[in-house]
Symmetry: C2
Subunit: 65 residues, 2 copies
Amino acid sequence: MCEANAYLIQGDKEELVMESVDIVEPQGNDSWRLVGIFGDQKIIKGRIKMMNLVDHKIFFESKTD
Amino acid sequence: MCEANAYLIQGDKEELVMESVDIVEPQGNDSWRLVGIFGDQKIIKGRIKMMNLVDHKIFFESKTD
């Protein structure tokens, strides 16, 4: 399975916000809807900073401006 | 391996723009840098419409406004 873990970067902290993410969809401006492999959902406010699919990682960063 | 294929949606057309994408990074406004598993790179102008990681698919849509 190729789901990924989603991390939120705030300053120099990196927080795991959701595991086993399947679907990532924009939800308005700078907000993303994540859907996990079991159908669980989470809304993340922030921007995509980088996705590394082979490492199963998605990094979001919260807006600081 | 959990790389994905990147598709660009323009109107009702869906075009495969890159296979075996590993890294996805924003590159300025509405532009994304894709890096493949062999280090090949491509810049896509558009927005992420949806990513389906379990299906290995990333859909971009070009700006129409």
